[in-house]
Symmetry: none
Subunit: 401 residues, 2 copies
């Protein structure tokens, strides 16, 4: 069954508000056998209070055993089948820097590289050129002109930048030009089929002109292209759920992901506290709020258990401000687990808490992985979280007579 | 979502080893209300030690309420959708006696039967003729010659044997010839459609020649045919998982099933202890080991609770030898439940234990059905067991950026 099609049919509008607080990479692992996870070790009095009122469970982002990247992880939370709605690397990068992709766009993630006199790559990352040097170069590449194609070039960070081609008949099935090694020239952009021939030609023209523009650069005198991708066709929150959604995030990638499903980016917060400020200010203008907190994931990626615990405690500390707004439904979850012990994303299911006055209490007194295992949500696929939130917000009609 | 396609894309190679110990028909039922199941009654100190380190749960072989045969039960454990990959009875039988089916083969399971002077069946199993008498007869049938078709005849056990037709344009859609009663002649092989007409003709020729060869036999002077089946097209473990898999089993059917997914059959063990000998000897040559233990199922089928408990204890006793090899991931499970109380396969989910140093502990102290119900794996479909094992063995890349 396609749950999203069903929800689309049953959606109801009302003024109830849903808040989804995402602590990126929330789920963890004990450092020592039998020890607590990060969430279990953290002092989270506010989340524990909510655990008594709400239901908790373990969210499976994609499928058992599958470790998600940030894109699929968030799409799942947003209720979109992450395997069906694949977002290419180029599209994700463009979206991440705030570029709004349209239906005629193909986005490509590019790296500056260093070429020798023979045109062979000597450094695939242009000596990890700093952003201050690379951004002006990316902007210089906006001089490239290709007939019947609009070209956008967006600086990203260090050696990375992003190119968007806009025109008729462009497609995303073109192979990467990064040979993944030095001592050889960049590959030629090769189309996977006839339909993508034009895109490969456009890319070839871009590369030739860019090489001419960059010719005198000491480090960044060449480029490689990766992850050609057309704009993903994702139905919006308004279309699927009838919601007017706001996204509050610090990092561009998460703003980008939210934008892909039609959320409006609200405010320009730089800290979690500022994110909650934005939430308060925007409260009357939307009925769904996605609030993204990055640092639980960052400290997990660092392999720093203690710091991840602190980040979870910081996350917990803003919960009373959110509850003061009296959302009809609050969801607290993560897009995946990032156990400090693994210093990276993992496949372990994610502790998830749903609070509303229509929860059937599950007897759990605190929020954590072991409690979630016995919680009222059980183990469930992430895509069911939105239908559950909508149900508790009385935004879903009865199915069938 | 097709989890196997996803896993195929994400597979990574490394030297980590996975052991899957299958105690056939492991799951059980209490004999008296409130009593223990076979697994709960058994003294399993070694599995209980592992329960503290690992995660347990209940594996649903096919779907809730569906009782699997050995074929679908094992395919599910191996990660293949058992409803998609149907293995015909003939193919299963041929594979079970070690016959390697090719793409031009159609396998048929045959029974010797006794016919009277009018050609009517008087005994559908030829008086349960012993293997010593039936095997030479089956071999005699190798004299049958059919133009443009290679014919193979393989003895099985008692009244059972197997015929494989190899040639162009053969198919598996031919109806059984066993009328399922006595006093009537065997049915004519009837093709389901034009594409299978040639196979039906070939079968008819085989039957006619076989009758002539068997004419003087007192008991086995006729035959019936069942389960016409082409070789199933199942992708191999190497193709899907990038694994180099070994199968260690005593009984031909399980070797056959393992062979169908591309496992190599290792050793010729006759006991569980010998199976572990083989595991030790083959340790360096493979990265996945399927070890099959038959007698938990056999004693369950006998309806003998006490003896099934003993078999589980015997199974438990070899666990330390397996752990001494330090597999990265150990999976202990069954292909289905065979409660002694039901004296047969059942639909009840199967207690399953996964042990690895990346498990999120679930607080369970012993391995058993009631504990599995509260375990970290929850209730899950058997086809997710391989993805989970691969994830814990670090053999799956992240999905999406």
């Amino acid at each position: 069954m396609d749950i999203q099609s069903l929800v689309r049919e049953l959606k109801l509008k009302n003024d109830n508000k849903i808040v989804m607080l995402v602590a990126d990479g929330l789920g963890g692992l004990p450092v020592e056998p039998g020890g607590p996870t990060e969430l279990e070790a953290a002092k989270t009095p506010n989340l524990d209070t909510l655990a008594k009122q709400g239901v908790q469970g373990l969210s499976i982002p994609i499928a058992p055993g599958i470790t998600p990247g940030s894109g699929p992880g968030h799409l799942g939370l947003f209720g979109y089948d992450p395997v069906k709605y694949l977002i290419g690397r180029g599209a994700l990068e463009a979206t991440g820097v705030g570029f709004k992709l349209g239906p005629k766009d193909v986005a490509v993630r590019c790296n500056f590289c260093t070429l020798d006199a023979q045109g062979n790559i000597t450094d695939r990352r242009a000596g990890r050129i700093p952003t201050e040097e690379s951004a002006p170069l990316a902007i210089k590449l906006r001089q490239v002109k290709i007939p019947k194609v609009e070209v956008f070039v967006e600086p990203v960070k260090e050696h990375r930048f992003c190119v968007i081609f806009r025109g008729e008949g462009l497609g995303g099935d073109v192979a990467d030009t990064d040979p993944q090694k030095t001592g050889v020239p960049p590959l030629d952009p090769v189309a996977a089929n006839l339909q993508n021939q034009r895109t490969a030609d456009v890319a070839r023209q871009f590369i030739a002109q860019a090489r001419a523009i960059l010719i005198d650069q000491p480090k960044a005198n060449g480029l490689t292209m990766r992850g050609f991708s057309a704009a993903p066709h994702i139905p919006t929150y308004e279309e699927v759920y009838g919601l007017k959604p706001a996204a509050i995030a610090v990092y561009p990638m998460y703003k980008g992901l939210a934008q892909l499903v039609g959320m409006e980016i609200v405010g320009k917060p730089n800290t979690l506290a500022e994110e909650i400020d934005v939430l308060e200010q925007a409260w009357n203008d939307y009925d769904f709020f996605f609030v993204h907190f990055k640092y639980t994931d960052s400290r997990g990626e660092d392999g720093n258990f203690t710091e991840k615990v602190k980040m979870i405690e910081q996350f917990d500390s803003v919960v009373p401000r959110v509850m003061k707004l009296k959302p009809k439904v609050l969801v607290v979850t993560g897009d995946h687990s990032t156990p400090a012990r693994l210093a990276g994303h993992s496949w372990h299911p994610v502790p998830t808490l749903l609070v509303s006055d229509t929860c059937r209490p599950d007897g759990q007194q605190v929020f954590g992985e072991r409690n979630a295992l016995m919680g009222g949500l059980g183990q469930f696929q992430a895509i069911y979280l939105m239908p559950l939130a909508l149900a508790h917000a009385e935004k879903l009609a009865k199915f069938g007579a």
